[in-house]
Each structure stands twice: as C-alpha cells, then as structure tokens.
C-alpha cells in the first residue's frame, strides 16, 4: 500500500475511474463550499526543473493566468531535472496545503505515489508538458500537443529542409529524458516508413542539455559523417548548438538543422540561415492553459469535449486530456 492506512491505499490502488471521479469533484466541491466568497485557490505548478528558459516562460504564462483569474499560483520545481527532488517538492507542497498540483513529471511513474498522497489530501491533480502514467489519478492532463503528431511533424520539417533522402543525425538533451525518447522513437519509425531514403547515421547523441555540448558534438558529427545532410534536435539547446557549429564551419548550405527551440533564442540563427526551421508550441500558453484548467476543475466543473477555456479557442479535449493545439513553426518569415 502506498499510503497512510492500508485500506485507503487499497482503495486508491483498486480504484476504478468511477469511484475516483466523485472523489475528485467532491473534493473540488468542498473547496468551493468552504472557500465560497473568496475563490482564491492555491494552484501549484511544478515544472521538471526551474531556471531554464523553456520552463521560465511556461512559468510566466502560468503566473500571468493566475493574476488574470485572481488565484494564487505557486510555480516551483527542483533545480535539477531529478525525479527524486521533484517528488520531495510535491510532498512539501501537499504539506503547504495547496488546492491543486499540476506537475510536469521528470518521470511518468516516479510521481505517482506522491500524487496519490495529494489525491488523498483532496488535492486536484493535473499533469502538463509530459504525462503521468496513471490516468485514474490525473483529473486533467494538459498536452502541448499529441506526441506522435509532434514527432512526425519534426521529421516532415527535417525533410522540408534537407530533402527526403540522405544521412541525418538526432541530437537529444539526455538519453534519459522520457518525452524526448518518446518523440525520437515515433520519429524514427515514421521516418523509416514514410521516407525510406532517409538514413539515421547513429543513435541519438546526448548533449547534457548544454548548448556547448551540442556545439562540439555537432563539430565531431560533421567530421565523422561527411555525407551528413540534416540534424534534428529534440531539446531546446540542441538546434542552437548545432546551428552555431554549422555557422562556424560555413556549412549552412550542405547541412540542414531543425528542431525544438524557444522563439527568441532561435531568431539569430534562423536569420543567418544556420538554423532552418525551429518549432515549438507557445510556451506561455502551455503554462496559462494549465492554470486555467486547474481553476476550471476547482470550480467544480467536469472536463468535456465541448468545454471552453477563454483565451484558448482551439483546444481539443479527449477524455481527461486537453490538447493545446498545433505547434508554431519559426522560419525566416516569423521574424520579418
């Protein structure tokens, strides 16, 4: 049993969706009941880690939404992308007595026991940026985008930049980053069947989430694989580091670089052609949507495919999953 008393544990463990759901909205209900009048909830938004641009921006979005809705948003996370640290933060947040916790899990399974504690404490649980692998536990799951779709999009962009045949390599933040691994798997299979002439030269190259590493690894790559025609990077530092190496070697025309990057950071490289296409969902929106859905649930509402969140016209809902919408592509035109 994962929780205080075995029976409670048993319940939460064997809980089916039905027994779970009422639990969820009653808890939501009491909240609204006893906090009637001042609906200022405490919503905790926990990123994988703090202090990197991507999660700083999602944080800005979340806080902005908080001000807009008049709820208190606590945006805090570990200073390293370490599941252990993250679980501790969640446990401490429960102690702090928040009304909702939205977590971007460093590991889909690791946070489950902690979230079960949260559930038992009557806290509304959401995940965002990456899914927690326990639907019964999660009241709402905010996906920036459908992973498979995103992975396939990245390959399409690569092909658009390098053509549909030739050698390409993959850069990733770290070999143990779950959602990047997920994308890479989808991408590899998709590329294999849709573009048979694409040739992945080696396993994904890890870059310790550091632009410096992406830069020097790319320098090595282009020498190790002289026929390399494309590089796709799946962490926001990768395309930038790669582009920088390409620019330095003056290979803009031989080698195409695409990948996920924050709009502002990508600008200079895209403008000088060393980075061909960057794509990412709107990071602020992701944070904002998370907070707004949390509030929506705290107010006692149920998720439904016809629900509306103001400011987010084109969200789609499927079960307890809320999709932010298609990613934005950044090309030369973007910065015109």
């Amino acid at each position: 049993a994962c929780t205080g008393s075995p029976d409670a544990g048993g319940a939460s463990a064997s809980a089916s969706a039905e027994t779970q759901a009422p639990a969820a909205d009653t808890s939501g209900a009491d909240k609204t009941a006893d906090e009637a009048g001042d609906s200022n909830y405490k919503i905790a938004v926990v990123p994988k880690l703090i202090g990197i641009p991507y999660f700083t921006q999602t944080g800005d979005g979340a806080k902005a939404a908080g001000d807009e809705l008049g709820v208190e948003v606590i945006y805090t996370g570990p200073s390293k992308a370490d599941a252990a640290e993250q679980v501790k933060m969640i446990e401490d947040l429960i102690a702090q007595g928040v009304d909702a916790i939205a977590v971007a899990p460093n590991d889909p399974a690791a946070v489950v026991p902690a979230l079960e504690k949260a559930k038992n404490a009557g806290i509304v649980c959401l995940d965002w940026d990456a899914p927690v692998d326990n639907e019964t536990l999660i009241d709402a799951s905010i996906h920036q985008i459908e992973d498979k779709e995103f992975a396939e999009h990245s390959i399409d962009m690569l092909v658009e930049a390098m053509g549909d045949s030739g050698d390409y390599a993959i850069l990733t933040g770290s070999l143990s980053a779950p959602n990047q691994n997920l994308w890479i798997d989808y991408a590899k299979t998709y590329a294999a069947e849709k573009y048979p002439n694409l040739n992945l030269v080696t396993d994904p190259i890890p870059t310790e989430e550091k632009q410096q590493e992406a830069y020097s690894k790319t320098l090595d790559l282009v020498k190790a694989y002289p026929d390399l025609k494309g590089i796709v990077g799946y962490a926001t530092v990768c395309p930038l580091g790669a582009a920088q190496a390409i620019r330095e070697k003056g290979l803009q025309d031989q080698i195409a670089v695409v990948g996920t990057a924050v709009k502002e950071d990508a600008q200079e490289f895209i403008e000088d052609g060393s980075l061909d296409i960057a794509f990412l969902w709107n990071t602020q929106d992701l944070g904002a949507l998370t907070v707004k859905v949390a509030k929506y649930l705290l107010d006692g509402n149920e998720l439904s495919s016809d629900m509306t969140i103001d400011g987010f016209p084109d969200i789609s809902v499927d079960g307890n999953v809320v999709y932010l919408g298609p990613p934005e592509d950044y090309t030369k035109d973007t910065y015109k």
Partner: protein, 342 residues
C-alpha cells in the same frame, strides 16, 4: 558530573549540531506551525530523509579512510535498476514474496560487485579513491543508461511499494530501515575491530600497515559497505518512485558530501562520527522541507544551505580556539598557585 563533562568534550561537535537542529526545528515550527508541524509533514520528512541519509553514511565510510566515493549515486541507481528488472518480471508478478526477496538480493549483489570494483582498485592497486570513483561514476552511469536505454523500468508489485510508502505504527518504513542502517553503521564503524582499523588507516595508512593491520582488506570492505548503504537507498528510491531510472538521486552527490563534512567528519580521514552525520542529514532535511513549505524560492534555499555549511564549521573552529585559550588560562592560574605554595 565529571563523566558528563568528559562526555560533553567527547561529543562537543554532535551537541552543537543537535542544538542547531533543535533551534532550526523550533524556528520553523514557529514560522509555520500549521504546515511544518503537521503529522503529514513530519511523516513525509521522515520518508524523505533516508535516501540522503543512507548515501551520506556510505559516503562517510569512504571519507573516513581519507577517500571519497563519487560513484555512490550511480551505485544506488544501478542496484535499483537491477532490482527493478526482477520486480517488473513475470516471476515477481506471479509469486510476489520471492520476487521481492530476489530483487533485494540482486540489489545487494550489485552493491557488493560495485564495491569490489571501487575497493579493489583503490586498495589493491593503490589508485586515489577520488580518481577511481570518478571513473566508476561514469562507468556505472554508462552501464545503467545502456541497459535501460535511458528509459524507466516500472510496474512493480503493489506490495513492494510498502518499502518506500508504508507505515508501521505511524512511522514510515523507510525511516525504520534508515534507523536500522544507522545502528548497523554505528556498531560496525565505531564499535567493531574493523571500525577502529578503518579510523586508524584513515589517519595514517603507513603506521597502520606497520602495525600489522591488513589495510587493503580494511579499505576494500569500506567500499563494499559504502555500496551496500547506497543500494539500500536505491531500493527505497525505486519503491518511493515506483520505477527505476539512471538519474534517480543524481543530485545527492554534493549534498551527501556536504552532510558528511557538516557532520564533523574530517575530509582528510580518520575522524568523524555516525551520529554527527545523521544529525547533519536531519538539519539539511528540515531546512529544505521547512523552507519549501514556507514557499521560499528554491535558490534561496541553496544559498541558506551553503551558508549553514560554512557557518557551522566557522563556529566549530572559533569555539575550539576559545576553549583551548580558556584551558590554557585555567592551567596558568593553577600553576601559579602551586608555585606560590612551594
């Protein structure tokens, strides 16, 4: 009275730490009685502490010999991963008890092997511990990444969750395991013959060897001990996070070293106490949790921890200096009295 006084001298450092611990605890209690002092929070702190605690005990043993174990975090995750493979196997699914037992066995086996690698190269080849474990840190990480392909292993039998999440008489199981480990560590390091060999070897390896101490075996065992502590920590982690991954607890390395030195263990080896380390871990735990609960910015917490580290050691140094001076003063006075009477 006298006994108490000698006790006070002997454990001056531990007493200081204990006072700090209590002081911090009280302050936090006053600042956030409704959050910090809740049964829930105390419970969650008790289930959080063992991870760092066990790694710190393992680190301490290595540091006692004048060494260091930089690979300790990856020993924890590697043994956790091996255990996870057993736990997620069909075998464990069908017959749970045996599965869990096997998993623990496998983790311990991994611990012994990693310990033999570290200890063997350090003791029998004579390479500086820092260097060896620097290498094995990368090596073990590499192995863990390789066999998991960077992914997570999950799907353990419910019963295994008890290890990290269960309670006995309201005390979290991890805490109970931790207490057991503390007692074991105390008996082994501070009461057993091997323990005193460890301390003496840590102070002066040559003299120990010239005294017929099998310093090689002594050091080898230290690194096995270190690995075992790490592995227990690893088991608790995978149970708490009901999955295993290479980077679990990777942020504990510097923290465990800090805890050990904060606990009064000399980095040159040969001096330090289990209880000191334990209290130091406690201090770090309540400070981080307390400030988290108060909603203090994560970075400020890092700053505060750093400040505590330096502050405590500064106090330790200054107070020692002071007490020495007083001792000398007392002596001089006494001496004068005598010379007058003569």
């Amino acid at each position: 009275m006298k006994a108490f006084k000698t006790l006070k001298e002997k454990y001056a450092n531990e007493l200081t730490l204990a006072c700090i611990f209590i002081a911090v605890f009280i302050i936090l209690g006053i600042l956030a009685p409704d959050k910090f002092l809740t049964a829930y929070n105390l419970g969650s702190m008790m289930s959080q502490m063992p991870e760092l605690g066990l790694l710190s005990l393992g680190m301490m043993a290595a540091i006692l010999t004048g060494g260091m174990n930089l690979s300790i975090c990856y020993i924890a995750s590697l043994s956790g991963i091996f255990a996870a493979y057993v736990l997620s196997s069909d075998f464990a699914a069908t017959n749970v008890g045996a599965g869990i037992a096997a998993a623990i066995g496998v983790a311990m086996l991994a611990a012994v092997i990693t310990g033999l690698i570290n200890g063997g190269v350090i003791a029998y080849i004579g390479v500086a511990a820092m260097l060896v474990t620097l290498g094995t840190m990368t090596l073990f990480q590499g192995i863990a990444t390789n066999i998991t392909q960077g992914g997570a292993i999950s799907g353990f039998p419910e019963e295994f969750m008890a290890l990290g999440g269960g309670n006995v008489l309201g005390i979290p199981v991890p805490m109970l395991i931790y207490i057991g480990a503390i007692i074991a560590a105390y008996l082994l390091l501070e009461r057993s013959a091997w323990g005193s060999r460890v301390y003496m070897t840590g102070c002066n390896e040559t003299a120990a060897r010239f005294s017929g101490v099998n310093t090689k075996a002594t050091v080898l065992k230290v690194y096995i001990f270190s690995s075992v502590m790490a592995a227990i920590g690893g088991l608790i982690m995978i149970s708490r996070y009901n999955s295993a991954r290479v980077d679990y607890g990777s942020s504990y390395l510097m923290m465990s070293i800090s805890a050990v030195v904060l606990g009064g263990t000399s980095i040159m080896g040969g001096h330090g106490s289990v209880i000191g380390t334990v209290i130091a871990v406690g201090i770090i735990q309540i400070v981080t949790t307390g400030l988290n609960v108060l909603g203090i910015n994560r970075y400020l917490i890092d700053i505060i921890i750093g400040a505590i580290l330096i502050g405590v050691l500064a106090i330790r140094f200054l107070s020692k200096k002071l007490s020495d001076r007083n001792l000398v003063k007392a002596r001089t006075v006494k001496a004068d009295v005598q010379s007058n009477t003569i």
